[in-house]
Amino acid sequence: MHTQPVESSTAEQGCSGSDNLNNNKPRTQNGHNNSNNGVGTVYIPPHLRDTVRLIGQHLADLGLQKTVQQLVEECDSQLEHPLASQLRDNITSGLWEEALEVFGELASTAESGAREIKYRILEQKYLELLESGNQMGALSCLQEEITPLQHSASKVHLLPSYLMCSTPTELRSQAKWSGAAGNSRQRLIHKIQEFLPVTVMLPPKRLEELLKQAMFLQSQQCTYHNTPFPPCSSLLVDHSCSRDKFPSETKQILEHRDEVLHCSWSNSGLYLATGALDGSLYIWKYNPQCYQLVEDKLIDALFSVGYIAWSPDDTMLCICGVEKCPEATVYTVSGSTAVLKCKISQSPEDVLTTCAWSPDNRYIYTGGQQGQFYKYDLHTSTVYKWEGIRLHGVATLRDNKTVLAADSHKRVRSYNFEDHSEQTIFESEQQIISMSISSDEKYCLLTLEKQGLLMIDIATGAYVRKFYGLVQKDYHLNAFFGGANEEFIVSGSEDHRVYVYRKNCSTPILRLDGHTSVVNCVCWNPVYTDCFVSGSDDANVRLWAPPLPSDESECSSGTQV
């Protein structure tokens, strides 16, 4: 990519400012530079020169060298420092001594970063010598050039061991190196690009990086974006998902005989459990291709089903009652029928209304407002108690030790049954009705009494955002995170609607009509992220999915906010 050397004195070290790359000849009135006889050169104003450099780099990466040559001539300026080009060429051609010399000119030798680069160039030289079978050359390189550098003893210690490798393949796998023919030279250039100032040598693939950032930003601002980041759509138009691809229409209505209080998808996204006031608990099998749920099993719990939790491996369910229910019941559901596995029960005076599984499928944490907070070991049937807490909600973390719990004193606290440590994470000003957490364990979502939803940052206990619009006055509502990137929040509401929020905005993006009574629970499918279900006091469960162009599908209007 280099043409004739620049005339101005830019060969010193540490040059800065893209202006140094241009001839410092005076411009004529029509903007053309006289040094090339004023023919065919275009004056690029300073603030646009970086853009030209990026485009040049992009074209060069694509292999369009002739075009780049043309580009350099036409705007009469280097795309990067000529020494940098030389360095790049030297490395691509494997000319290590020349590379080191040029690099020395470019960077001050006192900097530790410079030593790292020198080491890397020598390391590449050493590995290539070994690969081509030149053991003596490699050894002398190691002894006379690498060792005197006195850099990174830990890495240098590994180098002699590669002398033992009998074949180049073995060398490559041991050193985790792709070889001279692989992309190792290119990667070395990238490493150098990161080290040198950007005006001397452009950071690698800069234009691509900028475009990726732009796409990411567009998807952040796209209201209905429910596909993984970043979007793979055209650069030509700003990305914006249409509502047609977003779950917003009822595809199916499932009927219970009584008010549906809770619903929960299995971790595989293939099964749905819904529980009602009359004690009926249905397990449905989900067909993601046609958005259909089919009845799979029916469990007749002998008490109203207030809370359902799937075990992390989806083989079991733990069910809690609404009130006056002293036990949590565990069923094995992996077979053809559901089988009662065990009951967690200590005293008939207990009330257990919420539960959560530990990540290893072994423990269940359960509790309620009467003051019970138990950790139950399924293998040994042992119950560990934590006294003095009235639980409103519980969730476990991936470390298999920490349990978060919301209590009657408006606090979210974390507990560790193993070392008996506890701490308060957050104190709310309103009563906490229910609690759930995001799968990345960054955020905790609280349903507050009368005040909508509150999202807090778990690590710091900081208040992040309130979501309002939904109606809560008297009843227990459940809200959860969901969507392809868990960017959305869904909640029920006492105005009979399903509310959908985007995590970064306090007002709802959708209010879905359909139910004819309080919507108690809305749960987003964790795997097939284009659907969610809602359960309501009207005894129905509705499956919501993107509107398909089919006439027979059950339609229900939704209000776009």
Partner: protein
């Protein structure tokens, strides 16, 4: 009707609705025991939870004219007492915002030691 959300005020000595045992308040919130309601003795509490309130009524009481609201248990809707919204007599201002629960309509029980 769905799953009603009921708060728990905590405390070691609890007072609950006599009909459905929903916990309403505790000893720490007790202000005075020297009140009388239609069913007999009544207590004044500074904070009571899980109540629904009626519309305002102007009533003449032993201590003067007041604006009150009848209060009922949120769960079973049984009447448990009243709350003072406004006291026309200067010296009765301290009652404003507080709730009277009639002794016959509540039951007491022991709570737990809480963290």
């Amino acid at each position: 009707m769905g799953k009603l959300f009921l708060e728990h005020p905590g405390g070691t000595r609890l007072y609950s609705c006599a009909k459905c045992s929903t916990v309403l308040t505790n000893r720490d919130y007790l202000v005075s025991t020297r009140f009388t309601g239609s069913t007999g003795r009544a207590f004044l509490f500074k904070k009571v939870v899980n109540l629904v309130m009626s519309e305002k009524h102007e009533r003449m009481m032993l201590t003067g004219r007041h604006i009150v609201r009848d209060v009922s248990c949120k769960k079973c809707k049984n009447r448990v007492g009243w709350m003072y919204e406004y006291a026309m007599v200067e010296g009765q201002r301290y009652k404003e915002g507080k709730v009277i629960l009639e002794r016959q309509l509540i039951v007491d029980s022991t709570g737990i030691e809480e963290i």
